[in-house]
């Protein structure tokens, strides 16, 4: 957890904490609490009612934007609702607290030969956060989103109702990707995926153009479980394409423990990353990386599941590489027919505006089944942009252009990453009356509107 929450449930100055977005582009002063029990949650709801304050769910604070921020709100972390609660060998399912991280779940699962079917690019999110944003990973085109594998969740509503709901319940569909605005998820039961080893076989290809990138993704025909392409900063679409499938167990295999052994170099490696914020060095680094990968290409290697799925977690505090200034990650999902043109244009927009993407990740998707769609039958490109001090206005202008190009390509936005989209642009990305349905569910599940966030205040998602 990223802050030391107060154990005393009173709205005093000493309970205040300054919380930051993961990208460091926004922050809020909040009354931060770590409730110990469901009774504490009910007490906090009462406190909010009496004081007229609203509650924001902080999770692990890994949202790049303002989804887990709320100025002067009560911020809740579920660190006391963590840990594995139960597991079922026959059903291959694990029940864990809403504050349990993906990393804890992975570590527990691997001991039993299981792995979560869907994981995000970081292992440090909480399971409640994974439900609230319905996270996805490199296998989205085949395995869908996190909630597609959830068997049930336990929720606490702001009216005090505590219940367990399954995916066939309409409420579940409102809470998944509900941005933490509907109810508090205190427990998650997920069906795990059996794995024969803790490793995956990874094939790497060097691709030189956007055309090659999309051609490769389209030609694979689901022959790999996970695919991802790391796009270089050159802007011509060159990059390293990775495709992975589960690997058979080898006699020498030792079950890895994940990204915890932060040695000196990895803890302070972000200083080296800072150097790469200059365009020149960034291009040279991309060049070197491509050359290195070229030597490795056409040979399949093995990587442990942590290293393949959570590459950046190995570099502790990598986000600090963007200081001074902050990190903006723009991620949109564009339907297949428009993806190549749109992403090529978006990349050019960034480069010509002086914000060359430091890292860009291309992934294949299938449509999300959430109340508000954010993935479609297409591709997503996540671009990491560094906004140095004094360039905030210029970044806003670029972001607006990127958002317009996404809308022109009939794409969707992933709000876990966002903090600059406008209300009007967001509304245009949601078809039909889906926003109306979302608001009706918000009214039903949290009629007093106690749960809120800066994201919601900015985009008026729940009205």
């Amino acid at each position: 957890m990223d802050f030391q929450a107060s154990q005393h449930l009173t709205l005093e100055a000493k309970s205040l904490r300054r919380l930051e977005a993961f990208g460091r582009g926004d922050r809020s002063d909040c009354y931060a609490f770590a409730p110990q029990s469901e009774d504490d949650l009910l007490e906090i709801f009462d406190l909010a009612r009496k004081s007229g304050k609203q509650i924001v769910l902080r999770g692990a604070g890994r949202s790049y934007g303002d989804a887990s921020l709320g100025d002067e709100m009560i911020a809740l972390t579920l660190e006391n609702f963590s840990g594995i609660v139960d597991w079922d060998h026959d059903a291959q399912s694990v029940t864990a607290g809403g504050g349990c991280t993906l990393l804890e779940l992975c570590r527990f699962g691997l001991q039993l030969g299981w792995w979560p079917p869907v994981v995000s690019g970081t292992s440090l999110t909480t399971l409640a956060g994974a439900v609230a944003m319905d996270i996805h990973g490199k296998n989205n085109f085949l395995f869908g989103t996190f909630c597609d594998h959830v068997i049930k969740i336990k929720i606490v509503q702001t009216n005090g109702t505590v219940k367990t709901i399954a995916p066939d319940s309409p409420e579940f569909q409102a809470i998944r990707a509900g941005f933490g605005l509907m109810a508090i998820v205190t427990e998650v039961t997920i069906k795990m995926k059996p794995v024969t080893s803790a490793f995956v076989g990874v094939t790497k290809l060097i691709l030189k153009t956007w055309e090659q990138q999309f051609g490769t993704f389209n030609s694979l025909d689901n022959s790999y479980e996970s695919t991802v392409s790391w796009i270089s900063s050159f802007g011509n679409g060159s990059g390293i394409f990775e495709a992975a499938n589960p690997s058979e167990k080898s006699e020498d295999d030792v079950i890895p423990y994940g990204p915890v052994d932060q040695n000196f170099s990895s803890s302070y490696g972000y200083y080296a990353l800072r150097l790469m914020l200059s365009d020149f060095l960034l291009r040279q680094a991309s060049n070197l990386r491509l050359m290195q990968a070229q030597r490795e290409s056409k040979t399949s290697g093995r990587l442990d599941l942590y290293s393949f799925n959570f590459q950046l977690d190995k570099l502790n505090n990598w986000d600090k590489a963007y200081i001074p200034g902050y990190l903006v990650q723009f991620q949109s999902c564009i339907p297949v027919e428009n993806a190549e043109d749109t992403f090529q244009r978006q990349f050019e927009m960034c480069t010509t505006s002086g914000f060359t993407p430091r890292l860009a990740v291309l992934k294949r998707h299938r449509p999300s089944t959430t109340l508000l769609p954010y993935l479609n039958d297409g591709f997503s490109l996540a671009m990491d942009l560094h906004c140095p001090p004094g360039k905030e206005q210029k970044m806003r202008i670029l972001y607006e252009k990127l958002a317009e190009s996404t809308l022109a390509g009939r794409g969707n936005f992933y709000l876990a990453k966002d903090f600059l989209l406008t209300e009007e642009q967001f509304k245009r990305s949601i078809p039909g009356d889906k926003l109306g349905f979302f608001r009706a569910w918000k009214h039903q599940l949290d009629p007093e509107n106690l749960l809120n966030s800066k994201l919601n205040l900015r985009l008026k998602i729940a009205g």
């Binding site: 100055a13 309970s15 205040l16 904490r17 002063d29 007229g52 304050k53 100025d71």
Partner: protein, 241 residues
């Protein structure tokens, strides 16, 4: 915009009012505490959603933490708090007037402690924020004229220095500004020479707000008043200042 969310305590007159105007020009949202309701209303109607008026006598110490919390709620947080409430009531010649002295102690020092204690507690918890206190060159030495005004400012300087030393490790900046005579309603009718225009003073104060420490507004003031500070008492008592 350096300070998105600002509270000015004593912002309906003089330096405080000018600071409010300049902060608004820089794009800040400003909460203003003052007694002059008509000025507050005027500011609020001219700058809707940018000025948040709070009619209150700063010497009213009742429930200050809750009041501060309400202000922060309206602003959406707090980045900068300026204590600019001040009172200068002259005791002519060699006269003494305890009633006036008490009022000055209450506004210039006691109220500052009451409000800034609450602000300090908040800033210490969040590890962020800037406190600016408007002191005076009059607080540097015990002069013949205005003994209580000077001593309230001296007390304020020491209090702010303590806050600075205490809060620095929490990432909070505390700034003491020691203006010389500034052309404001407070100094009207007083025989000060070379009064600084209030617009100039406010501009300099906002520029210095980012630098923790004690600051004079002019280099000449810095030289002269530092010289006065080190002047031995046995000489100082003979000087006509």
């Amino acid at each position: 915009m350096t300070y998105p969310k600002v509270l000015v305590i004593g912002g309906t007159s003089g330096i405080g009012l000018e600071l409010v105007k300049q902060l608004l020009l820089s794009g800040s949202k400003v909460a203003v505490i003052g007694r002059n309701e008509s000025i507050l209303n005027c500011l609020a109607s001219e700058h809707q959603n940018e000025v948040f008026p709070f009619v209150r006598d700063v010497t009213d110490h009742d429930q200050i933490p809750d009041y501060l919390s309400r202000i922060a709620e309206q602003l959406g947080g707090l980045d900068l708090v300026i204590y600019s409430a001040g009172l200068l009531l002259d005791a002519e010649g060699q006269q003494f007037n305890f009633e006036n002295d008490q009022k000055m102690i209450e506004v210039n020092y006691l109220a500052a402690v009451a409000w800034l204690n609450a602000v300090a507690e908040r800033f210490q918890a969040v590890g962020h924020g800037t406190i600016v206190g408007i002191g005076s060159v009059a607080g540097d030495r015990g002069r013949r004229a205005r003994p209580v005004y000077g001593s309230t400012k001296a007390a304020l300087h020491t209090y702010l220095e303590s806050l600075r030393n205490r809060l620095n490790r929490h990432g909070v900046k505390v700034v003491t500004i020691k203006p010389g005579p500034v052309d404001t309603p407070m100094t009207k009718g007083h025989a000060f020479k070379n009064k600084m225009p209030v617009e100039v003073a406010a501009k300099k104060i906002l520029k210095l707000a980012n630098r923790p420490g004690e600051h004079y507004l002019l280099l000449t003031h810095k030289i002269i008043f530092n010289a006065i500070k080190i002047t031995p008492s046995w000489i100082f008592k003979h000087l006509n200042i």
